[in-house]
């Protein structure tokens, strides 16, 4: 049973560019959440997708957007990259919509470096 997978593993971009990160949830899971983990910090919630809709959003600007496909996989898009967007981006999947009651399973993350 494959766990949560993310691609790519590493990515280097320059300021102003756009980036797309991808996530495949654990088999059987229908909900995907995205987190940003800056160096030396804990993960910060970006948003969560369930039934192809954004259900909750953290304190991130509109430059951060996402999408969920019918197969439950998800993308995180970041436009107009800033140096401060450099971080590890984590995807987590869970079952049956967003609730903190259900365990989230995390992927290994995508390391984004903005130069």
């Amino acid at each position: 049973d494959a766990g949560v997978t993310q691609s790519p593993t590493h990515l280097i971009k320059t300021r102003g560019q756009q980036v797309t990160l991808r996530c495949s949830p654990k088999s059987g899971h229908d909900t995907v959440s995205w987190y940003q983990q800056a160096l030396g910090q804990g993960p910060q919630f970006i948003f969560q997708y369930y039934e192809e809709e954004e259900r909750q959003r953290g304190n991130f600007p509109d430059r951060f957007s996402g999408h969920q496909y019918p197969n439950y996989s998800s993308e995180l898009n970041v436009n107009a990259l800033l140096l401060g967007d450099s971080a590890l981006y984590l995807c987590a999947s869970s079952l049956r919509g967003y609730t903190s009651y259900n365990e989230q399973f995390f992927g290994p993350g995508t390391r984004l470096t903005v130069l």
Binding site: Q56, Y98, S100, E103, P108
Partner: protein, 112 residues
């Protein structure tokens, strides 16, 4: 709004010694509490969670935590650590059906 404070950024401990990682939270309502572990170059893994009921929660890999409502704490303990416990540990809090708020993490160093 909820918040989490992990009181130590790094904790060194000798192998086979006990360890306690401290976590305090603030919230005006009932919360769920979590401890996650992050091994080098990996995602987070849930160690244990407190949702309700018994205040002593047992998790994987021999870890346990105690919910103390009066002190708003949720400290993580292990009676005897192993070199494989070297990792970063995150305490987290959430309200029901709300996003999870993570602390800044505590790096556990196991000394031989």
């Amino acid at each position: 709004a909820q918040s989490v404070t992990q009181l130590d950024s790094q904790v060194p401990v000798f192998e086979e010694a006990p360890v306690e990682l401290r976590c305090n939270y603030s919230s005006s309502v009932s919360v769920y509490l979590f401890w996650y572990v992050q091994y080098p170059n990996q995602g987070l893994q849930l160690l244990l969670k407190y949702l309700s009921g018994s205040t002593l929660v047992k998790g994987i890999n021999g870890f346990e935590a105690e919910f103390n409502k009066s002190q708003t704490s949720f400290h993580l303990r292990k009676p005897s650590v192993h070199i494989s416990d070297t990792a970063e540990y995150f305490c987290a809090v959430s309200r029901r059906d709300d996003k999870i708020i993570f602390g800044k993490g505590t790096r556990l160093h196991i000394l031989p």
